[in-house]
Symmetry: C2
Subunit: 354 residues, 2 copies
């Protein structure tokens, strides 16, 4: 069974998950070798459902002529980082801390077709994916052992994908991930001193300045953050304050699908179909602990849910590893300018003429 381990020097958690390996020395094998048994075989295609673990959730096909019973299909990852069975045991181990690897690790297949990417989806198709995300968060929140549900997408081998068929993943954890905990803390401190949402303030500032805005719609904004860690890092934020992605209605999801589709197509055109990671940031599971008024679950209202997209076109090296800083050769103002001008219908070829 896997285990979450805390380093008291780095203030950092790692999930030690030997079950993620096929063989003892699998760490020597490139990630790409972990894909389907044969390149012709798509384990996520309709008809191959017996190649995956049991279905947890699905949404019916939008087009019945597709031959697939489902549009979106969710099941447990075959090589899970965390497992749903067992109690959460928290214990000190000398100077260190350990938490048992209880959680969930699910795969969300995003469409029936083998050769379509999220950037190819119609808005209707993308809305179905977002609905599946929302439904899985709602369901897993009922589990009192789990503190957070993290949804993310790895697109392309360089971004960590091991199966080509379009899919996202979900990992639910018994502790709040440090990136989210830091965002919650920042939002809490800002609200305490100003009684305003930090993210709402940021959105207002950026819209006023304008030079880091990539796309603006009535209900959402896509912007290149001031301290972008990587070239073309882009956040999509709802203009209206809301801490919880699971509390969105279908109109919210439609608005999100419109701007996400636009952004993905611009990125694909501009950067020649780059690998990328997409991460949903939402509030933690609302499980208050008696006597802990400042617990994460009670400060969730200060949060502002959003999506973060990072094309994987630069590499973390020793400096990034040793400092915690990143070196980003593309100013966010420049990235936003390119994105504003990019053609969302330009396909995979850069229109910037290199």
């Amino acid at each position: 069974m896997s285990e979450l381990r805390y380093c008291p020097i780095k203030n950092r958690w790692a999930i030690i998950a030997p079950e993620r390996r096929l063989r003892p020395l699998e760490f020597l094998v490139p990630e790409s070798a972990r894909s389907a048994p044969s390149p012709e075989l798509d384990p996520f295609a309709p008809g191959n459902e017996d190649l995956t673990t049991a279905e947890i959730f699905s949404l019916p096909a939008l087009d019945s002529r597709s031959g697939s019973p489902w549009q979106v299909r969710v099941f447990a990852n075959r090589f899970p980082a965390l497992r749903v069975e067992g109690d959460v045991v928290r214990e000190g181990v000398g100077l260190n801390d350990s938490v048992s690897g209880v959680g969930a690790h699910e795969v969300i297949v995003e469409c029936p077709e083998t050769n379509r990417e999220m950037a190819d989806f119609t808005v209707n198709e993308l809305v179905e994916v977002l609905k599946a995300w929302r439904a899985r968060i709602e369901d897993l929140r009922r589990d009192q052992r789990l503190r957070y549900v993290l949804i993310f997408k790895n697109s392309g081998t360089e971004a960590g994908a091991s199966v080509d068929h379009a899919h996202s993943q979900l990992i639910a954890t018994p502790i709040i991930p440090s990136v989210v905990a830091q965002e919650l803390k920042s939002a809490r401190e800002h609200f305490k001193s100003k009684e305003r949402c930090l993210f709402c303030d940021l959105i207002h500032q950026e819209i006023e300045l304008g030079d880091r805005i990539a796309i603006e719609t009535n209900s959402f904004v896509a912007l290149a953050p001031y301290a972008s860690a990587m070239p073309f890092e882009t956040w999509i934020l709802p203009r209206r304050h809301g801490h919880d992605f699971a509390a969105t209605d279908d109109a919210d999801l439609r608005g999100l699908a419109v701007i996400l589709s636009d952004l993905l197509r611009r990125i694909r055109c501009l950067l020649e179909d780059p690998p990328y990671n997409l991460v949903l940031h939402t509030s933690p599971n609302p499980h208050p602990r008696p006597g802990h008024p400042d617990d994460w679950s009670t400060i969730q209202y200060d949060f502002h849910w959003h999506l973060e997209l990072v094309p994987r076109i630069s590499r973390r090296a020793g400096f990034e590893w040793g400092s915690g800083y990143t070196i980003n050769p593309t100013a966010p103002e420049e990235a936003a300018r390119h994105l504003q001008k990019a053609d969302p219908d330009g396909g995979k070829n850069s229109k910037l003429g290199r």
Copy 2:
């Protein structure tokens, strides 16, 4: 000029460095394309000194028959992330913070020969590299604008190296890198409550347990940390407490060279010559600020300098990016066991029989 930018949401700094790019759209080009103009031309070889910027420091050749005047040679990076010219300007920009990109970015060529890796070096040769590191830290500390000198090595393209010739790099920054700041903070808090060094306590605990120790010598220990973020992450720590790498004597450096050489050769044999990053962690520059008794420069004595090595055999994907956690499929106890048994003289081929 580049700029350090702070994100108030993520509590994170990024160095926005457009000067690192050769062309406006260079972010589309793989890192490997940035190496020498022609594969035959080694810009770091003796005789090609005019292909680099001016020499800042060098140590004479150990073997005069090599035909090279120098053994180790240091110069400014041609594509610097930070520059030595100018004042450090710190300013608020709306919700954000900016610090001008003043600092140093140097290349340390580690040997005259084109086709030798650090794992090939004799102990004497490795000592010269460590002496150069020490000398550069001592020199740059005199600059009151700089708070930290970070020395790191990227070995192999996958680890971020753009030139094959063995070299390390140095980046000196006007703020303390967050990874080091966190380590200092952890060490400070531990000392405050226990009047003992956190790292010394860790070393004692790990030697007593034994199951995460890779190599032990009279003066150093190489161990796989309990919450290893990546497979075969290894730290080399001096057994005797010392906060400052620059305060080491030549005997210390020799002891370090012995265990580092041993570790590099075991890693090379075990993991088939993997790309890796090596980072020196030492105390910040001792520039006290009047009226700031808890400033980093005064709490440096709680630190314990050490080296961290991370083979780059796994990939950061969306989960790692979104959570701040890492998923490590190799337990450190297992990594240590493999390293104990590995043959330091086994060359590049794994002796584990795959």
